[in-house]
């Protein structure tokens, strides 16, 4: 009877110790990767010191395979950099309004503005953008950007047919390179995941 009591006491201690360790580990894990507000429309910026914003910028290579012309869509090429120490998987993007236009430039360096093809005249916008800023558009295939310093970070992505040109786009916009309007946000999860091989192709379709 005494032996049995001791055995139960040991088991209780072992279970308690394991459980306690799990609690501490879970707490540490949460503090490292997941201390981010889950409010859908606001930014993660400023909500946690442990999550740094991603950078999505234009890149000239590879050149878009599908080019724009009035009344049609074209590819957008981006590079996504992840400054965090863990991979980030992007599942959706948030777009500016459908009236937010891209500016035209004479070369892929996007350094010299194209006369007559500006952010007020180009007619080039994100495809499927709505009149509401921040509309969310899911990626059919999620994109995982590697951790800082790891492979596939930055990740070069061709967003297939995610730019659209108005039928009234001026002739000055022909043979022009466009700097697409800034996205208003992305929907992402962090933590262990296999990074997407760069360069990749993705893009929302609705």
């Amino acid at each position: 009877m005494t032996v049995k009591t001791t055995r139960w006491s040991r088991r209780a201690k072992v279970v308690s110790a394991v459980c306690g360790s799990l609690l501490v580990a879970a707490g540490a894990y949460a503090a490292t990767n997941w201390v981010v507000g889950l409010n859908g429309s606001s930014s993660g910026e400023g909500q946690s010191a442990t999550i740094a914003n991603l950078s999505i910028t234009a890149v000239a290579t590879p050149a878009p395979g599908n080019v724009l012309f009035p009344g049609n869509t074209g590819d957008v090429v981006v590079t996504i950099a992840n400054p965090n120490s863990y991979p980030v998987t992007i599942s959706a993007v948030n777009l500016p309004t459908s009236t937010t236009q891209a500016g035209g430039f004479t070369t892929s360096a996007l350094s010299t503005a194209q006369t007559g093809c500006s952010t007020t005249t180009s007619g080039v916008t994100w495809n499927f953008a709505t009149t509401t800023s921040g509309s969310s558009h899911s990626l059919p295939t999620a994109l995982t950007v590697g951790a800082s310093g790891a492979a596939n970070n930055p990740l070069v992505v061709t967003l297939a047919n995610d730019a659209v040109m108005s039928t009234t786009s001026p002739a000055a916009c022909a043979n022009t390179f466009f700097s697409m309007p800034a996205l208003t946000g992305i929907t992402a999860t962090g933590g262990a995941a296999t990074s997407t091989t760069s360069p990749a192709t993705s893009g929302w379709t609705s």
């Binding site: 049995k4 009591t5 006491s9 088991r11 209780a12 279970v15 308690s16 459980c19 306690g20 609690l23 879970a26 894990y29 949460a30 997941w34 889950l38 429309s41 606001s42 930014s43 993660g44 914003n53 991603l54 950078s55 999505i56 910028t57 234009a58 890149v59 050149a63 878009p64 080019v67 724009l68 012309f69 009035p70 049609n72 074209g74 590819d75 981006v78 959706a92 891209a102 892929s108 996007l110 080039v124 040109m165 039928t167 009234t168 002739a171 022909a174 043979n175 390179f177 466009f178 700097s179 697409m180 309007p181 800034a182 996205l183 208003t184 946000g185 992305i186 929907t187 992402a188 999860t189």
Partner: protein, 145 residues
């Protein structure tokens, strides 16, 4: 004592499971991350449409004083503008019709000499240069084959 320890262990395990499961749910949820850049990608537009080539004109029929103008299709063109001059090949051309096909037949014309050029359009504002060949036809010359 043993029963108490067992109860503590069971209770702790339950709490532990709760934390782990809620943590998993938390981890699986998404958040919105702001992007810290001023642009978000690069796109490119094609050049203006090429000028139609191999423009031709013939009367149809030879005695009917109508002219049929034909040209080769241009990629992505949505419409074609047919321009006519009545004084010379280098005279002033006036838009007589906009069509979405690759030919156009005039109405009955006065007996005379006509010149035609064609421009390809994409959308409202993108137009090609005039066709590389000017189609010349008198209304009494050879009929369409």
């Amino acid at each position: 004592m043993s029963r108490g320890a067992l109860l503590v262990a069971v209770a702790l395990t339950a709490v532990c499971s709760l934390f782990v499961s809620s943590g998993t749910a938390w981890a699986a949820a998404n958040w919105t991350v702001k992007v810290a850049t001023v642009n978000s990608g690069e796109a490119k537009a094609q050049a203006l449409p090429a000028a139609p080539v191999a423009t031709s004109a013939c009367t149809t029929p030879a005695s009917a004083r109508t002219v049929k103008v034909s040209w080769a299709a241009i990629t992505h063109a949505t419409t074609y503008g047919v321009y006519q001059a009545t004084t010379s090949a280098t005279g002033t051309y006036t838009l007589v019709m906009s069509v979405s096909t690759t030919s156009w037949t005039s109405g009955v014309l006065a007996t005379g000499h006509y010149w035609y050029e064609v421009k390809a359009n994409i959308g409202t504002n993108w137009a090609s240069a005039s066709s590389t060949a000017t189609a010349e036809r008198t209304t009494t010359s050879s009929a369409c084959s």
